[in-house]
Symmetry: C2
Subunit: 210 residues, 2 copies
């Protein structure tokens, strides 16, 4: 299809498609003349993924570029590709503590992950996030050890294992797997957040209400 | 104590304390002369709560004003006071749908809450948030009915009932209850979020890894 048809099929305006081509997010089409190129279903799929990462994942164009490079890198297995997208979704953590205090929280986070028996890359940004949460809890005088956080780990693992990982299509293009993973992570995170807020209100009504 | 001592006891600078007094977030001290006032432990406690709402809850000064008005209103029971703080924490929802589509999602959210048997105010903002999440899931072609979201509701209710509501002190000043509720909601939300991200990585390593 021509660029105008690609635009119609994907709902993405032509200038935006050209911008993605220039930024390398979208692979070039097959050149059919000096000024024309032909695009295929893989371009429609790729545009769908870019929109999902932008609109639902709120990723920057630079972060999307990294995810696309991973999708295109045949040396990476699907787990690595999904991991690249997952890491791009994680908020950056600025350690809010002195070197020593931070190092202690990081060690505690690492021990917690080891005790859970989870397979987490040593460089995973979520290790820093967990350390930050442990620090905040401890500063507020709230329980922050492995025992206190275990119910949250168990609930998260159950939801991911029983309800989320199954939504990721294994056969088919990698774009579809990355899209399903990003959408599932973000939207189910929002669902869980609102359910917690509702549960707080309902339990509070029973316990503290008139 | 004098304002300088209140500042030392709370760690809040004097100009900031004066600002909170002007905005009505902090009740006036007992006037001891034309230019001096005496402050008590209740002012230290109140400053602690303001900082928690600002720094951890990321509430605006206007939103904190509403929470403080509820804390001070003796006609409200503790559940109403906690609800005011809870609602202030909720992100504002801008319905991203036509009137009819939005009304359908809201009805679905309301039905879901009724089916759960939860006690939720008809005007709770989390009802709109749930409708928005249902809409997003449906648009992405993901399951969005009561059955699909039930595991999230169950997990949230279990965590709140077994691990969060017990942290809210019932006896003692209302400020302490509001502070514990806000901190618990926000920080445990972050814990759950990072645990889900870690669980995703670990499950992905087992299922998709080399």
């Amino acid at each position: 299809m021509r660029i105008s048809e690609l635009s119609a099929a994907s709902g993405v305006p032509i200038p935006t498609i050209k911008y993605y081509l220039r930024e390398g997010l979208l692979p070039a089409g097959e050149q059919t003349s000096a000024t024309r190129a032909r695009y295929g279903e893989e371009h429609v799929r790729r545009l769908r993924l870019i929109r999902a990462l932008l609109e639902v994942g709120r990723l920057s164009i630079a972060a999307i570029g990294k995810v696309m490079a991973a999708v295109d890198n045949e040396d990476l297995d699907l787990h690595r590709v999904l991991g690249t997208a997952q890491y791009a979704l994680a908020p950056a953590v600025e350690p809010q503590a002195s070197g020593e205090e931070w190092a202690r929280a990081r060690t505690e986070a690492d021990t917690m992950i080891t005790d859970l028996g989870w397979r987490i890359d040593p460089g995973a940004p979520a290790r820093d996030e967990l350390a930050q949460a442990i620090l905040t809890l401890a500063r507020l005088g709230m329980p922050a050890d492995g025992e206190a956080l275990r119910p949250y780990a168990d609930a998260a693992l159950r939801l991911v294992t029983e309800h989320e990982i199954g939504n990721i299509p294994l056969d088919g293009p990698r774009e579809a797997a990355v899209e399903a993973m990003v959408l599932g992570t973000v939207v189910h995170g929002r669902v869980l957040d609102v359910m917690r807020r509702l549960a707080h209100e309902s339990v509070s009504a029973r316990v503290f209400g008139a």
